[in-house]
Amino acid sequence: MSDEKSIQKELKEEKKEEAKIEKTVNSLKVISWSALAIGIIAIIIGVVAVISIPKTSAPGASSAPTSIAPTPIPNVSVNSSLAPIYVNGSLITPPMSLPDAPVITQNQSFGSRLTNINQPFNATELAIINNASNSYFEEAGMMYLNGTINGVGVQPSLSPMLIVNGKPSVIYLGAISCIYCSENKWAMALALSRFGKFNVLFKGYSSFGDLDIPTIYWAPAEYNASSGVDFGNFYNSSYINFISIDYVSPIRAGFEIQSLPYFLSKVQSTGSAPYAAALNLITKLNNFQGTPYSIWGKFVVAGADAVDFGNTITNQPPLPLEYMTHEQVLSQLSNPKDMFALREYAAADLYVAMVCASINNTAPVCSLPAIQKIESINGY
C-alpha cells in the first residue's frame, strides 16, 4: 500500500513537473518565434545591404570596350539636390614639420618600419608623381578598358560639387593608420598631379597593425598622437582644390578611426570654411562606408579605387607592398611595367575621368583617348 502511495505521489510530482516544463516551453516558444521573425527580417535586410553596396566596375572584364554599354551611375540616396555648394574661404596650409612627430632616420625592418616617416619627398621623388608621363596613364587606361587590368574601380555615386573660391574640389577623408588609404594615396597623388602640382609630399606608413604599408602623407602626420586630425596639404591647381582630412592615431598600434562628430568638432578649431563645408557635405550624403572616402568633383568614391598591394591577387598577408620601400614603389611608378604600377595608374585614370567630367574636360589630360573612353563607358 505504501509503495502504491509513493508511486502515485511520484507520478503526481512528475505531472506537476511536466506541466511546469510545458509552461516554460510555451513561453520559450513565444520568444523563439519572435527571434525567428526578427531573424528573417535581419536576413532580408542583410541581403538588401549586400545588393546595395557599390560594385567593382571593370568594364573590360567581360567584353571588348566597343561593345560595353555605359554603366549607369546610381543616384546618391540623399534628399538634397545636386546643385553645387559655393564656399569662399582659405584652405589650410599645414606646418612643414612637427616637433612631436620627427622624421625617423634609422633603417628599421619591415612590419615595424617607420624609416623616413614624415620626411619630405626629394625633388626627384616628387617629380615622379608630378611629372609622370601621360603615356603611362593612357597605357594603363587602355588596359583597364580592355580588361587586362582587374581589381580597379568602384562604382561612384553622385554628389553636389563643392565649389571653393570658384573651383570644384576633390575631398579626401582617411586615416593614417588605414591600409587601404595607404595604398590608395599613390593613385590619388598620380591623379591629382594631372590637374596641378604637389609642392611637397611626405613619406608615411599605415599602422603596424595594418601591415605597415609605405605611403604618402599629404602633410606631416602626428603619428605619436593618441588621437587627432591632420588637415591640409601642399597642392596647387588652377582647376581644382584639394581638401584633405586624415585621422591620426598611434602609428605603432592598429587601425583607428573616430566618428564624424569628432571631425566636425576638430574642424571648428581650424576656422576654415571650406573644410567645414566638406565635412558637412560628407555628413549630408549619408554614404560614408569607412576610409578612404573621397569626392572627385561630382562623384563620390566610397572606398579604395584599387585594391593593389603589389603584384598579387591574394588578400592575405604577406603582401608584396609590405616589403617595399618608398624608393621601390616610386621606382615602379617611374617606369610602370608590372601590374602593381599599372593598376595604380589605372586607378588614377578613373579619378582623372571623374574630375574631367566635373570640370567640362578643360584640363589637357582630359583629351587623352583613354580618359575620354572611361568617361563615356562609365557614364561620367
Binding site: G39, T56, L211, G254
Partner: protein, 169 residues
C-alpha cells in the same frame, strides 16, 4: 559531461555529422564571399583563427538546434538555426572591419541610421571587432549548452535512462 556525451552521440549519427560539415563549409564560403565582395584584407592569422572558431561553434549550434527541432520543439530549433546563421554571418562581416566596412555600413543605412550614427558604429566595430567575435563564440557555446541540455532526454542514452527509471518504479 552529460552534455558532452550528448553531443558525441548526436555527432555519431552520420546525418548530423554531415550537417555539421556542410554548415561549416557554407558558413566558411559565406565568410569568403563577404570579404571578397568588400575586397577586404585579412590582416592577421589570429583574425582568421577566431572566425574559424566562430564558424565551428555556429555549426555545432545548428546541429544541436536541428536535433531539438526534430525531437523536441520546432520553435526552439528554428531559433537555434537563426542564431547560428546570424552569429556566423555577423562575425564574418565585422572580423575584418577596419578602414572599409561597406556591407555593415549599408546595413546600418538601411535600418535608418545617418552618417553620424554609422560612423560611430564603424568606429566602435573597428575598436572592438575581435572582442565582439569572442562574445559571439561565447553566446554560441551557451546556446550549445542549453540545446544539449534540452536534447538529453531524446538521445539513445537519455531514452535508456528514462526507461530504466520507469521500469525501476
Amino acid at each position: 559531461m552529460e552534455r558532452l556525451s550528448n553531443l558525441k552521440q548526436i555527432l555519431t549519427n552520420k546525418y548530423y555529422l554531415a550537417e555539421f560539415i556542410v554548415a561549416f563549409f557554407i558558413y566558411f564560403l559565406a565568410y569568403l564571399y563577404i570579404i571578397n565582395l568588400s575586397r577586404l584584407i585579412i590582416i592577421s592569422l589570429f583574425s582568421e583563427f577566431i572566425i574559424l572558431l566562430l564558424i565551428a561553434s555556429s555549426s555545432l549550434v545548428l546541429v544541436a538546434a536541428t536535433f531539438v527541432l526534430r525531437n523536441a520543439s520546432k520553435a526552439l530549433g528554428y531559433a537555434g538555426g537563426f542564431f547560428s546563421a546570424f552569429f556566423s554571418l555577423m562575425g564574418s562581416a565585422i572580423v575584418s572591419c577596419g578602414c572599409q566596412a561597406p556591407i555593415l555600413a549599408s546595413l546600418l543605412y538601411i535600418i535608418g541610421l545617418n552618417t553620424l550614427e554609422v560612423t560611430s558604429f564603424l568606429s566602435f566595430f573597428s575598436f572592438y571587432n575581435i572582442i565582439l567575435i569572442f562574445i559571439f563564440i561565447l553566446i554560441n557555446l551557451l546556446l550549445l549548452y542549453y540545446y544539449l541540455g534540452k536534447s538529453s532526454q531524446y538521445t539513445e542514452k537519455g531514452k535508456k535512462k528514462i526507461l530504466s527509471k520507469v521500469f525501476t518504479k
